[in-house]
């Protein structure tokens, strides 16, 4: 089956600085592919190259089997739509609705279709009430939602989404993920760049981690989590026995007070969470709750990218 997006040995250099090195990436139709990486990893450059805003210095790009450079820019741009990372990418003097109608027509919709679709998309992103309001009066989050609505005007085979949830509140971020998921269900391939690690679990099908322009990990979220064993937990304690928790966990874990009945527990090499909790319970400590202090995804990301 032809991949919706295939990137082969892509490279980009800005003078002496090599921002992308031999990047390979494949996104299938209906797949949500998260592109993770710290600042300066090359995520946005990669998306700009895919969108034809910047040339690659080496490598090949295929969207639905069509190779970049072998078809005209106009045809190429019909194959994707994009949610750019900046907030101000719409006309501030026009209403949200007028912005969408304008861009809808640039995408080739008739005026009637553009109007109808604009209304539908504004409804989808929860901006129906602000449709006639000037974009200049929108909050950052609303402008981001508008950018998402604009990308959904047509149903292209590929959606390039750059830091879509960056300035959104939790509900806005959740809605955006739902919309991306729906687009994927309709058959679109979604390339989703983010720095919010918490959002990829249960959302992304495949994850690629970039660091300094190089692919450092490619796999599913489960495979990413599997690269580390979580070692730091936050436990909530009800009653404490005669011995202090620190003494009970001698040789198993280090424990420090986190305040208000909470302790931070760091497992020692070779120790398991079960053995630590068992030691506490046997010592008369009532363990009310236990959760990861940082998620396994975050821990894996930190380990792979070397970020702190």
């Amino acid at each position: 089956m032809t991949a919706a997006l295939e990137v082969r040995a892509l490279g980009r250099r800005f003078g002496e600085l090599e921002v992308l090195k031999q990047v390979d990436l494949t996104v299938q139709a209906g797949e949500i592919h998260a592109l993770l990486g710290p600042n300066g990893a090359g995520k946005t450059t990669l998306l700009r190259i895919l969108a034809g805003l910047c040339d690659a210095t080496q490598g090949e790009i295929f969207i639905q089997g069509a190779r970049s450079g072998t078809i005209g820019y106009r045809e190429w741009r019909k194959l994707f739509s994009m949610v750019p990372s900046g907030e101000r990418t719409s006309y501030q003097r026009l209403s949200g609705y007028e912005n969408l109608v304008f861009f809808g027509r640039l995408y080739g919709l008739s005026r009637v279709a553009a109007k109808r679709r604009s209304g539908e998309c504004l409804e989808m992103v929860g901006l129906a009430d602000a449709a006639s309001q000037r974009v200049g009066l929108y909050s950052q989050g609303m402008q981001k939602r508008l950018a998402i609505a604009r990308a959904l005007l047509v149903d292209p085979p590929l959606l390039l989404i750059d830091e879509a949830t960056q300035s959104l509140d939790p509900e806005g971020a959740r809605l955006t993920r739902v919309l991306a998921k729906e687009a994927a269900t309709r058959g679109a391939a979604v390339l989703w760049t983010t720095q919010r690690l918490d959002e990829i679990r249960g959302f992304a099908d495949v994850v690629t981690i970039l660091r300094r322009g190089e692919v450092r990990f490619r796999g599913t979220v489960a495979e990413l989590s599997g690269t580390v064993i979580t070692r730091t937990f936050l436990i909530q304690v009800g009653a404490v026995g005669e011995m202090a928790p620190g003494e009970l966990l001698e040789g198993v874990a280090d424990i420090t007070v986190a305040g208000d009945g909470h302790y931070r527990l760091s497992l020692k090499e070779g120790a398991s969470l079960g053995s630590a909790l068992a030691a506490l319970v046997e010592g008369g400590v009532e363990v009310v709750a236990c959760r990861e202090e940082i998620s396994d995804v975050e821990e894996a990301f930190v380990r792979i990218t070397g970020a702190s």
């Binding site: 700009r48 101000r88 304008f102």
Partner: protein, 279 residues
């Protein structure tokens, strides 16, 4: 969802309609700028009519055998040069504006042909500027005792329409320079001012020094001005139109060709450097 059956040309023309509407809505949203533009135009006319009182009427050349006042002479100059100025500056500032407000990048991710983008950015002005010029001339003839020949209006429009693509081509060359060097407005303003002074827009050719007269005689702006004066003030009918059109059309072909080429070259350079959309 996209109408795949529409021929590409029809689709691109429809996009020009979208650009026109967008620019119209944006222009209407800046009410004060619109009013200031007209105020500035009328103010220029008032100033020149006062200056006209100081000018010896015998130093103003006859047009079509008719003695004209300085206000009449300069009104056509103001009309045409403000038309040139707007045409040039709008083409130039359109790209810059998109860069500054952050919409250029996104525009360039939509499936539009480069030519559609270039025309689209100024399509509103291509309609607005001739209308503005016409209204200005009508107001001037009403309030400043300027005797325009009604039979010259249509020939003047044809001269302007033949002149637009030439100016537009210059605008595209300027916008390519803006895309490349980011700040080209000052240079373009300087060049426009030089062309204006050396074109008999405000000062009769006869009053210019020899070297300036030599430049003005080959300046296409001079031809546009003298032709417009002949038809509007001298009642020359269609006679000057043929000569003007025969000069402007090849000039327009060259300036548009260079404009399109230089714009595409600038875009290619920006993509290569990865600096498109930066400012």
């Amino acid at each position: 969802m996209i109408d795949a059956h529409r021929p590409a040309v029809v689709e691109e023309i429809a996009k020009l309609g979208a650009f026109f509407r967008r620019n119209l809505l944006i222009a209407v949203s800046y009410r004060m700028a619109f009013i200031a533009d007209w105020f500035n135009l009328v103010l220029q006319l008032v100033i020149f009519s006062l200056v006209g009182r100081l000018v010896d009427p015998t130093r103003i050349p006859e047009v079509g055998g008719r003695a004209i006042s300085y206000v009449e002479f300069v009104t056509v100059g103001i009309a045409l040069m403000s038309f040139v100025q707007i045409a040039l500056s709008r083409v130039l500032s359109a790209i810059r504006q998109e860069q500054l407000i952050g919409t250029l990048d996104f525009l360039l991710t939509t499936p539009i042909a480069p030519t559609t983008l270039q025309i689209g950015l100024v399509v509103y002005d291509l309609f607005y500027v001739p209308i503005r010029t016409g209204i200005f001339l009508a107001l001037a003839s009403l309030f400043f005792d300027i005797s325009l020949s009604p039979s010259g209006l249509l020939p003047a429009l044809v001269i302007m329409l033949a002149f637009i693509p030439f100016v537009w081509g210059l605008g595209m060359i300027s916008s390519a320079a803006t895309l490349t060097f980011r700040r080209g407005t000052g240079v373009v303003g300087l060049i426009t001012a030089a062309f204006t002074i050396l074109s008999a827009a405000y000062i009769p050719l006869e009053a210019l020094p020899g070297w300036a007269r030599a430049f003005a005689s080959v300046n296409p702006f001079t031809l546009a001005l003298t032709s417009a004066r002949e038809v509007l003030l001298g009642g020359a009918g269609w006679a000057p139109v043929g000569r003007a059109v025969s000069v402007f059309l090849p000039l327009a072909a060259v300036s548009v060709a260079i404009g399109v080429f230089s714009f595409r070259l600038a875009m290619r350079r920006e993509r290569r450097l990865g600096t498109l959309g930066g400012y």
